[in-house]
Symmetry: C4
Subunit: 173 residues, 4 copies
């Protein structure tokens, strides 16, 4: 914006709320990417056991926590007190979600391989697990840098979401 808006106007109020918009977009994209990956995971499944259902509930419970951690980060992003804690909780909630996704993936592909269709061979299973484990790393880093800067946490999480949303060379037909 060319010049700062007068305080009290709608434009000023809306501009002040930008952390809410940024956090909303980052969380939405992250959940969206998890959703696409979840769909891909379930396409490989031929039947489920009790543990798979419980892992799935755990993932859902952690996704359902995100609106709360997102609002927390948006509220405290620019506060002197609490911004680092809020950012650690936000990064940690994304990490927890990614970890529960990883645990479910591992249960299906490694612990109970008979739940997955036979056309997925051992090499492909290993490749999927490796990609999943690499995907955990950015959230570990995002959570770890929370004491440095809450903006950095949000930026890393946003970059991860955008990276996975970008078109890939391999189609997920």
């Amino acid at each position: 914006m060319p010049k700062p808006e007068a305080p009290g106007t709608l434009a000023h109020k809306l501009a002040e709320q930008w952390p809410s918009y940024a956090a909303y977009v980052v969380s939405f994209v992250t959940i969206g990417v998890i959703w696409i990956n979840h769909h891909a995971m379930l396409r490989r499944v031929q039947r489920v056991d009790h543990s798979a259902l419980v892992f799935n509930l755990l993932l859902l419970m952690l996704v359902a926590v995100l609106p709360w951690t997102t609002a927390l980060l948006a509220e405290y992003l620019r506060e002197d007190d609490g911004q680092h804690l809020a950012a650690a909780i936000y990064g940690g909630s994304l990490l927890a979600m990614a970890l529960s996704f990883f645990a479910m993936q591992r249960h299906l592909l490694v612990a109970r391989p008979e739940l997955v269709v036979d056309t997925i061979g051992p090499a492909e299973r290993k490749a999927i697990m490796r990609r999943n484990m690499v995907g955990l790393l950015p959230y570990v880093i995002a959570t770890a840098v929370a004491p440095l800067s809450s903006y950095l946490v949000l930026a890393i999480c946003g970059a991860v979401g955008v990276y996975y949303a970008l078109p890939t060379t391999t189609s997920s037909a």
Copy 2:
């Protein structure tokens, strides 16, 4: 109403809230029409790639923003300060939704035509794209007239929704 209601009564309070009702109906009808069109779009699809899923998430993210822009317009419709900005944001949010729909349609029909069933020939594809592009125009106009009148923005968006909801001569069997 024959005579103005006394301030403080329920009738008065409810009558004062009419922008909320109008904006609710306009947004609901608009999302409903997009939903019907989205269903028609997906019926033509035989498989999806990663980009189609991401376009779909983008559309969903913009639809999920509408309750906020709708409430903003309802709150500021009659305010001296902010009514033009709120109307521009409202019109702009509908335009963004329509644009993301157009982009997904274009990806399926033009960029990656193999994703759509073969029975949809080149002429029909062009006709669908042309209809979609024409459908963007009213939202461009609605957003552009925001500096003139917030009521006009709401009226144009409402008229577009009603127009698409009206019975057509061709059945979408």
Copy 3:
């Protein structure tokens, strides 16, 4: 309760909120019954046209209004000012929902009979329409008695919901 609770205690506060509970149950049961009937209606459909989809959206829009009219009735049920208006709006919102259901039913069975499976003959179509029309009557009455008593409106709407939820002699297999 044997003796009135002391004001300010939780028991007192919860007891004071009984209109919310009653209105919640009545609205939930009414939407539930409409849902069951909607499912039965769609089981008879072999294809839909644009108007059927729009009728369906209209019904959904009116269902989505119910939480608001329910909260309004709960808030004003015992108020001197506004109880009659709130009750009329509540009864009217249920009537509007029932009318839109009736209009969709009529569109499918009478106006565009080819949308419904052939096994439903003219006699059965007439019987369904007659039952639907009779089902409108209690909501007309409930709305009409709003000037007399808001309690009566809630009682009639509740009785209708319970009546349709009760087991019938004919199974809807």
Copy 4:
């Protein structure tokens, strides 16, 4: 935490809210377990009658009440006034949900056995009913101990949820 947080800081505020987190997790896990069981119940069904649909709505209505009873318990868990009542309402809401599940199960397996697939013999039906009845007991106890301690109510309900979520020796393929 090694030392108590200073009042007013974010860490202090979040630590103060722990009953909300605990109650959220307990309710989420309980609904999740009911969901898994509900899915198993519906897999045995070959058709439904009107009563089965109404039992299902009743269950849904009681599930939809849980966010309210959960928030009530979280708010009053540590209050001098109201903690016992809030805990009784919370335990009672879980008991009511479990009872409605039991009633639906009983309707399908005992009252109208023809609704369930033939491969489920009399012995298995009895075993399912027995397991369901045993599952009611902890919620009866949880509700009954509300006058003693609200913490105990939450602990029992949490233990039940975790118990059913734990891996079993029999897979629910």
